[in-house]
Amino acid sequence: MESRSLIAKRVAQEFKDGDLVNLGIGIPTLAANYIPANISVTLHSENGFVGLGPAGALVDRDLTNAGGQPASIALGGATFDSAMSFTIIRGGHLTATVLGALEVDQEGNLANWMVPGKLVPGMGGAMDLVVGAKRVIVAMEHAGRDGAPKIVRKCTLPLTASQEVDLIITELGVFEVTKQGLVLTEIAPNVELQTIKERTSADYVVSPNLKEMQV
């Protein structure tokens, strides 16, 4: 399985019936394709509604997802203004937020909004999502395009939030962020522990109950 799909499939296993979840742009958005049919998960779109669904045949200029792409609202969904949208986010009403990262470190710090001097898109809603959601799941490819580790001892890029990340899911494995540091709890099929070690610069321990990712 291609790594982005593999990550998205594993992310979807984190969801439970009745959850309200915000999915960031990129790999996190793909997780919507793998939500099991026997559970109901509501997606929150920070531009102002719950019940986010894929675009239908008719494009409606008044309805997009938070990335500006055409979208739909599922039956039972609701629209609201940005103050309500961020009340939902910051007020602890989101079960989980799933986001990508430029860097995530062993203390659960996250950097995903700017590279000084190079890329300054702005934080959008990311800082509020990471602080407000009950669970913060980072879903990303394990290393950068240049092969540089993205799971590091200490973030060097400007932080999105301090010590808020709970879980890191990559195409190689799954790490839990605990008070004692990172714990590798799952490893992807046909991946060696040595490979993870080579591509991770953070300190971590391998769980005694290490499992294979079910993807």
């Binding site: 203004d81 940005s82 910051r90 702005g122």
Partner: protein, 222 residues
């Protein structure tokens, strides 16, 4: 009083160096016709408070491209490369604010509050130079209120009293900025007589809306 005015009358309220709030999220729910009229009037040195700077060819981005903006207070500029370019060349000042903090700063400005206490941005560069206030053992950043001279909003439907109905995800910042400006101008597609919008359907009370500009747009669903 008659609230319905034309585009020329609307931009008569916007002068050089004005501080304006504009509704929309990546140009969805942005009053495009009023923006086009501001470009025609060619006022300069605007300070714009909004969610984002749109795209080069739509929304607030058009005002950046036409070099009428001195300062932006926004959460995101990534969809408009021209904003980034002007920022790097020091031609444009950009204050990046987390989206949830931005909307609450505006809400507090419109609600008569002295600001908001939020955990968002603690431990990041957003906290630089800001006061941290501890409430019941928990730290918060003090974020100050925002107000503007003019708010430009977009709605789907109005009655002649200015009561507004928004549509789908085009609501976003619009009803909130309408509370935080001295003059509020709404670009609407439809103006109906009072009584045709039930009080329970009103999403923004007309007492907050000073003027309506009726714009003929192509039908929904396109």
């Amino acid at each position: 009083m008659n609230k319905v005015i034309n585009l020329n009358q609307a931009v008569g309220h916007i002068n050089d160096a004005a501080v304006i709030m504009i509704g929309g999220f990546l140009s969805v729910g942005t009053p495009e016709a009023i923006i086009d009229s501001i470009i025609k009037k060619n006022v300069k040195n605007l300070t714009i408070i909004a969610n984002d700077s749109g795209f080069p060819t739509s929304g607030i981005g058009k005002l950046v491209v036409s070099r009428q903006v001195k300062k932006l207070v926004v959460s995101h500029i990534g969809t408009n490369p021209e904003t980034g370019r002007q920022m790097r060349e020091n031609e444009l000042e950009v204050e990046l604010v987390p989206q949830g903090t931005l909307i609450e700063r505006i809400r507090s400005g419109g609600a008569g509050l002295g600001g908001v206490l939020t955990p968002t941005g603690l431990g990041t560069m957003v906290a630089d130079g800001k006061q941290i206030i501890t409430v019941d053992g928990k730290d918060f950043l003090l974020e100050k209120p925002l107000r503007a001279e003019v708010a430009l909003i977009k709605a789907a439907r109005a009655d002649t009293a200015g009561n507004l109905i928004f549509r789908k995800s085009a609501r976003n910042f619009n009803p909130v900025i309408a509370t935080a400006a001295d003059i509020v101008i709404a670009e609407v597609q439809d103006v109906v007589p009072v009584g045709q919008i039930e009080p329970d359907e009103v999403m923004l009370p007309g007492i907050l809306v000073d003027y309506l500009v009726k714009i003929q747009e192509e039908p929904y669903g396109k």
